[in-house]
């Protein structure tokens, strides 16, 4: 075999250079293996205009042929990836044009080095991120522990203040004037609020630190909801707010932590009463839907502005909507409710519009569903 034939064969089959012969109209007459690999198996007969990516609509065959030095042009591979080649065009003695396209080795090396450096950087950043994340988790645990200890230790003295103010109101009823009695009442109601806040802080710290384990049991959710309504009725009566239950079910068995779900119901009902005007209604509806027990608590209160809805289930985030009879709100209740429902593999959401009331809906897996 002649040297030139070996060379031709090698270049045709193995060289990483696009080689094509095209006629004066730009149609490909012949190509090497590499050109077919980069531009597609059937390029013979195609026009070069269809092989080169023309982003600007200014690709002119004449201009390509007139160019002296290599031209940076983009092509599209069969995998639909753009690739850049430096193209040169040479007229041959048989009136055809030899098209040669090569990639810049210098550029490739630079790119590979850059990619390697970026990859290293990314890996190192993710290492730092994981480390910081672990530190933050540890700090969060410490915070919860502190919160738990502080709330626990404050509960007894505040309980004592509350009991004493209650005792004094009873004992000194005949000897104190109205102003003095009001002071004692304020003492009692403020310490009651502090106690509620501490209890919620304790709950929150326990749930956050994962110390609260769910005590699962099978019970009738309908009975529990009815009981919660009974317990909250006196608060509703005070504001002339009626709490009704609506359901077509006789019972709705679920496997859940009864105490925690009762806490959820009490929270939702007391919120509904707190944020509703006197003379309105609260409706509690129970359904079974798609393997889930669905409970909704709907009030006729002022509703929540749409932009504030995402804040609702976040810790200490109060909305612009205020309780209607100067009741207190800790800003923790709904965060606790969400954590309890999430722990049961359920979900909770709210539907509300300013001026049109709010509806809190939670789902719990119904019995028999995993």
């Amino acid at each position: 075999m002649k040297k030139s034939a070996i060379l031709n064969k090698y270049v045709n089959e193995h060289a990483s250079i696009i080689m094509m012969l095209m006629d004066e109209r730009g149609f490909v007459k012949k190509s090497n293996v590499f050109a077919e690999r980069i531009l597609g198996a059937e390029i013979v007969g195609k026009n070069i205009r269809n092989l080169i990516l023309d982003f600007t609509g200014e690709l002119s065959l004449d201009k390509l042929l007139e160019s002296n030095g290599p031209l940076l042009l983009n092509v599209k591979t069969p995998e639909n990836l753009p690739e850049t080649f430096y193209f040169s065009f040479y007229k041959t003695d048989d009136e055809l044009t030899l098209v040669l396209g090569e990639q810049s080795e210098k550029e490739n090396v630079k790119l590979r080095q850059e990619l390697l450096a970026l990859n290293n950087e990314l890996n190192n950043l993710s290492r730092e991120l994981y480390k910081k994340n672990t530190e933050l988790q540890q700090m969060n645990e410490q915070k919860n522990e502190f919160l738990g200890v502080a709330a626990h230790d404050l509960r007894n003295p505040i309980g004592l203040v509350m009991s004493y103010s209650d005792y004094l109101q009873d004992e000194l009823r005949d000897r104190l004037n109205d102003e003095e009695m009001d002071i004692l009442k304020t003492l009692e109601s403020q310490s009651q609020f502090m106690l509620d806040l501490l209890n919620e802080l304790l709950d929150f710290a326990r749930i956050e630190s994962g110390k609260v384990k769910l005590d699962m049991e099978v019970f009738d959710l309908l009975q529990l909801v009815s009981k919660s309504i009974r317990l909250n009725k006196p608060f509703g009566d005070k504001k002339d707010i009626r709490i009704d239950i609506k359901t077509a079910l006789d019972s709705l068995p679920v496997n859940a932590d009864m105490g925690k779900i009762e806490q959820v119901m009490n929270n939702l009902l007391s919120n509904a009463v707190k944020f509703s005007e006197a003379g309105t209604n609260v409706e509690v509806e129970l359904k079974e839907k798609g393997g889930y027990a669905r409970v909704s608590v709907k009030d006729q209160g002022p509703g929540i502005p749409e932009k504030e809805l995402p804040l609702l289930f976040k810790t200490f985030s109060k909305t612009s909507v205020r309780p209607t009879a100067d009741e207190k709100s800790t800003g923790l209740g709904l965060a606790i409710v969400k954590k309890i429902i999430d722990a049961h593999a359920g979900s909770i959401r709210v539907e509300s519009k300013a001026g049109a009331g709010s509806e809190f809906i939670f789902l719990l897996p119904a019995l028999g569903r995993k």
Partner: protein
């Protein structure tokens, strides 16, 4: 447990660039509560050594070597939540590759071994300029500075770095190590004052364990 069968499957997937398969293997080991040290040594380190060997014997392209190394590095992140939770000992180590050193995974493993032992292992990454190493020592005041050399023609850079550290921080403890020492170079360390050569992760663990 990391059996040969599991390792071979993992290694094959690694060379194929099959990210899902390698991630699944590591997840499986984490689920099986296989220790981080074992995953590091018997999976990651073993695979990286084998990749390096194949590359040195021209049986693997540099692109495949880089891809496999990157995949291992990504998986190292998967065990981080377990690693960084180790009880802290209040000790610090700064680990770095030298200038012109682009192979960083070994050095990163060293930083991670410090973390596993309750130290803060600050990792500066590949191709770290000498000035940056010096400023990190000044800033972090580490108990130990660890220098990684993966290719032997960087021994002179290592010596320069050691001299610079000595000049600026005379009492700084220095350890050196890396794949470059597989082919010799130990005698270079003998002439360096108070520089300890560490040749394996096991040796590093024992060094950390005995460090006062």
């Amino acid at each position: 447990m990391i059996t040969d069968q599991l390792y071979n499957k993992y290694f094959e997937a690694l060379l194929d660039g099959d990210r899902q398969a390698v991630v699944a293997t590591v997840n499986h080991l984490i689920d099986q509560e296989v220790g981080i040290r074992q995953i590091y040594k018997d999976l990651f380190q073993r695979a990286l050594y084998q990749v390096g060997e194949l590359w040195e014997h021209n049986k693997l392209s540099v692109a495949t070597e880089h891809l496999a190394t990157s995949l291992v590095e990504r998986q190292m992140s998967m065990v981080y939540p377990y690693m960084f939770s180790t009880e802290r000992k209040g000790r610090r180590a700064v680990v770095t590759c030298l200038a012109n050193e682009y192979h960083q995974v070994g050095a990163r493993m060293v930083a991670d071994i410090f973390e596993m032992n309750g130290w803060d292992g600050y990792f500066l990454g590949a191709n770290t300029p000498q000035s940056e190493v010096l400023s990190m020592i000044s800033e972090r005041k580490p108990d130990i500075i660890a220098l990684s050399v993966s290719v032997s023609f960087n021994f002179s850079v290592m010596k320069e770095m050691v001299d610079l550290i000595r000049e600026n921080f005379p009492s700084q403890s220095i350890i050196v190590g890396g794949q470059a020492f597989r082919w010799g170079g130990q005698n270079l360390i003998k002439n360096m004052d108070e520089v300890k050569l560490i040749l394996s992760l096991e040796e590093l663990e024992s060094f950390i364990g005995n460090y006062n």
